[in-house]
Symmetry: C2
Subunit: 330 residues, 2 copies
Amino acid sequence: MKKLINTVDDVLTESLQGFAEAHADLVRIAQAPTYVVRADAPVQGKVALISGGGSGHEPLHAGFVGHGMLDAACPGQVFTSPTPDQMVAAAEAVDGGAGLLLIVKNYAGDVMNFEMAGEMLSGDVATVLTNDDVAVEDSTYTTGRRGVAGTVLVEKIVGAAAEAGADLAACKALGDRVNAATGSMGVALTSCTVPAAGSPTFAIGEDEMEMGVGIHGEPGRRRVRLESANAIAKELVGEICARLAPGAGERMLLLVNGFGGTPLMELYLMYHAAVQRCRERGLQVVRSLVGNYTTSLDMAGCSLTLTRLDDEMIARWDAPVHTPALRWGR
Amino acid sequence: MKKLINTVDDVLTESLQGFAEAHADLVRIAQAPTYVVRADAPVQGKVALISGGGSGHEPLHAGFVGHGMLDAACPGQVFTSPTPDQMVAAAEAVDGGAGLLLIVKNYAGDVMNFEMAGEMLSGDVATVLTNDDVAVEDSTYTTGRRGVAGTVLVEKIVGAAAEAGADLAACKALGDRVNAATGSMGVALTSCTVPAAGSPTFAIGEDEMEMGVGIHGEPGRRRVRLESANAIAKELVGEICARLAPGAGERMLLLVNGFGGTPLMELYLMYHAAVQRCRERGLQVVRSLVGNYTTSLDMAGCSLTLTRLDDEMIARWDAPVHTPALRWGR
């Protein structure tokens, strides 16, 4: 295993310390229990958005804490759910008196722990469960579809609504609507290596790819020979559209998300390939995001995410955001 | 070779098309000769900043085209200098009548071609040559020190000055001052693979790292056993400070730059290690940047960059920037 670390046990703590030091103007961090909150938390009168999940997907979720997006993020150990005590402490630190919205990716551990935290919290609590991965129904770590990179879009769009004063019911309804309008699917060219494991999560041949891979390197649909970027984009866009069934001329957001080990040059090439496939289907890509936003440590590969946009989603997407990993508009 | 591409010959063209499509609000692209300019170019009465170099270092340079940074970028083939005709066409497209500043990384091919372009251009032309890499004197592709990730800081700081109305002489002087105040050094854990070559640029053992590596995978100082993040940070910070000789309590900018194949989690861990080494030396890290900004395709590893900041540099760093890869302040 080749990684820039000191000891395996200290990876998460030291990485979070660096994150907090580098972004002291935007976030604050607490340890034991560990969570990250926006520097101006709690924001009185605002619905507080709390997310979290296993580490190793950076910048998800801590990188999206700040004005216009999340109020708090709870990082678990690598690919491991955070614990209810982290979630409760984070929620109490950001509670502005207008309710708490938990944004949870659909993995068994996360769902169970966020449910327990929700029961321990006083005040109004609602949950948005993301399950945008169209690749497989049921998987290694979950029943039902996995929550993957589409979660970033839910956090951005609902974060803007909360910042603008939407109440808890409206934020919950918007989050569910964005999730339902969003589909993702990915492909891996290499495995990732979990520091505590010390060896690759899965073996893959020099000429193979894992089509429909999960963000922990868990299996997708099938192991096949590496194809061209155009062929990959055609399959991913096709499968996502089969689920979303967008209408002709519909306005879409396209996210090309790198898994951590793939250069930006290839991600932009995949973006070009995906935009062409969308055009062939009569879809208009009107908003875009290209980069490493929901990663799987050092895995090479990428996922595509498409969202069927409506006027409110577009306005919320364009609204100012000021977080370590996503910043525009002010 | 495992890459998300169609054919080796089309990698650059298709990647740039995707880049232009994803950022149509910020940049425009021209083909044959190929260059990228800010969407509102030319900006009348403003010094125009033009950079460029081999591709494979994305987001450098095209990702830094926009308000408050570069007016134009000329991408060459992977790890290959752009040609003078690209530079001349780009310069003519962004010339606002207040002079042209060429920002050139110190590699023999880039220096020669930008010099030829400078001679072909009419009007006032000045050049800032970046050579921030402290690892080696003379290298595979150049005489003298290499220009690496510190170039991003020169482009940001001088870009803000130009946007604020500084004249050509002031921009040139500021660029030279930032370059002289900046040092960088990197370490590679794996090689990169140039698409046209199809195999890794260099061989490296499972327990080795290349200390002082260049951004094309060219040799650094020595091949040694992989060390801890703290030990790596100590050597890199030590070597950079040996060149810059910052005074006690001096205000520094710290950039932890990923080479493309290293996850953000490790980059933040390296940031924490580097900040501690700076503190031990009595330095204040007052500005930071962590991420993939000057990459080497899919190479794993990172570089550290330190700049001795003065009041003007801090103000220019904080000024608004609105480019695909760096965005804040408006």
